[in-house]
């Protein structure tokens, strides 16, 4: 009960940090999608780039998040504002599932459908926009979904470099050895992750081809 009272008493701050959290996650997911989907398309059509791109995205994933935030801190323009830096780091982390699912989704399109399409005289771009992407959309979105859920969790660590978000409560709670404060950050973050998961999942089903 203490926890709920704490949240109620600090509701304006909880809301503010939640909004910051959403800002970090939303913007980074947007950037990752805008970069990841085209990259996924590129590596389908230029298989030679497939390995280096996926390896690159994989390596980024293996860097511990705290270390990545730290590495980026001294970078000139980026280091000026912690949220910029956090958004860049989160974008980098979100790339892998989006690139990989775009690639997998498009590669999963029935080759007979593509051959028929080519044989009918669809250009490569018509094939991409009318056939490949619509058929791959649910696989691509499930990559976005994974990315969002990961980002919500990772964004809590951004508080360590002063980027704000619900991580503030977690770090403050840790310093104060006060579980109520930790939970005030952790519970809304978990709810955000669930909500994002359900939301993108819904979108995924809506856009699913028959």
């Amino acid at each position: 009960m203490n926890f709920f009272r704490f949240i109620l008493q600090n509701r304006s701050q909880v809301l503010e940090l939640t909004a910051e959290h959403l800002w970090l996650v939303g913007l980074s997911t947007l950037f990752a999608t805008l970069i990841g989907i085209p990259l996924g398309i590129v590596i389908v059509h230029w298989p030679r780039l497939n390995k280096p791109v996926l390896a690159g995205a994989n390596i980024i994933q293996t860097v511990p998040s705290l270390a990545l935030f730290g590495f980026l801190l001294p970078v000139p323009w980026l280091g000026d504002r912690a949220d910029r830096l956090a958004i860049l780091a989160l974008t980098l982390y979100a790339l892998l599932p989006i690139i990989r699912n775009t690639y997998t989704g498009i590669r999963g399109v029935d080759p007979a459908v593509l051959e028929a399409g080519r044989g009918m005289g669809l250009t490569e771009s018509q094939l991409l926009l009318r056939v490949e992407l619509p058929l791959a959309v649910s696989v691509i979105l499930s990559g976005v979904r994974t990315a969002v859920v990961i980002s919500v969790g990772l964004a809590t660590i951004a508080a360590a470099i002063g980027a704000g978000g619900l991580g503030e409560f977690i770090f403050r709670g840790l310093a104060m050895v006060d579980n109520r404060v930790i939970l005030a950050g952790a519970v809304p973050a978990a709810l955000l992750a669930l909500l994002a998961d359900v939301g993108v999942g819904w979108l995924e089903r809506r856009l699913q081809p028959r």
Binding site: D110, A112, V113, L114, E115, A116, G117, R118, G119, M120, G121, L122, T123, Q126, R130, V131, P134, L135, P209, R210
Partner: protein, 258 residues
């Protein structure tokens, strides 16, 4: 049989196609006349599908040239070329996220036909291939195999191409449906008079549908014969086919030819 003096619709001039060191096709010279059905007969790997794909440039020759209406097809814009050639494959390859109507109307749609004209054309084609108009709003997964291939044929005919390329279109169907589609295809062809190149490994199908049968083996054209000539041919490959498919071939050869 057409006069061989008429300009061929499709002509292969000494065409070879090579992948790495392997000759998929070797020095193929072949003419297809207007309105005929040329059956490319051969076993898997004989080069018959490659021959078909050379016409609409899904494959480009290593040497030699393919002429369509007297023009080397490498000189024609690839999109124009493909849209003027209907293409039907065994797996059908219908777009699973489009209705039957959108599948059939896709090329007209891309070509910018007005909506009412597309709708009328789809209706006309459905009737032509023997499908009920209600099927227009269905999705491919809601159709039977035979219905799907009918849609495949309708889609290939949508922009009224002069040439139709068919790669074992009835190969995956059960015998009754196949028989039905073969019969209907022949009667459709009597009306439409397309120039058809038809790939099959089934001698019965080749005899039944083909005006001429081009027998291929290991990337080479063995011989081109009419169904009747094929039956009596002393060519060892042709004879082997006749032997493998057994008797009652004579009745097929004479059935339903115009």
């Amino acid at each position: 049989m057409q006069s061989t003096r008429a300009a061929p619709v499709i002509e292969f001039r000494d065409v070879s196609y090579q992948v790495a060191e392997t000759h998929v096709l070797l020095n193929l010279t072949l003419q297809v006349q207007s309105g005929e059905i040329l059956a490319l007969l051969g076993r898997s790997g004989s080069g018959k599908t490659t021959t078909l794909k050379l016409v609409n440039r899904l494959v480009s020759p290593t040497s030699g040239e393919v002429l369509v209406n007297g023009v080397p097809n490498l000189n024609t814009d690839i999109t124009r070329l493909r849209r003027s050639v209907g293409y039907v494959i065994q797996e059908v390859g219908l777009f699973p996220h489009f209705t039957v109507a959108r599948n059939i109307g896709l090329v007209p749609n891309i070509e910018g036909w007005p909506e009412p004209r597309i709708r009328a054309r789809v209706e006309e084609l459905l009737q032509m291939v023997g499908l009920a108009p209600e099927l227009a709003s269905r999705y491919p997964h809601q159709l039977s195999g035979g219905q799907r291939q009918r849609v495949g044929v309708a889609r290939a005919l949508a922009a009224d191409p002069q040439i139709l390329l068919m790669d074992e279109p009835f190969g995956a169907l059960d015998p009754l449906t196949r028989d039905e589609l073969q019969r209907e295809f022949l009667s459709l062809q009597r009306k439409l008079r397309k120039t058809v190149v038809f790939v099959t490994h089934d001698l019965r199908e080749a005899m039944r549908l083909g005006s001429r049968i081009a027998l291929m083996e290991a990337g080479k054209l063995v011989t081109i014969l009419s169904p009747d000539e094929f039956l009596r041919s002393s060519d060892p490959w042709a004879a082997a086919y006749v032997k493998a498919f057994g008797d009652r071939l004579e009745s097929i050869a004479t059935e339903g030819k115009s």
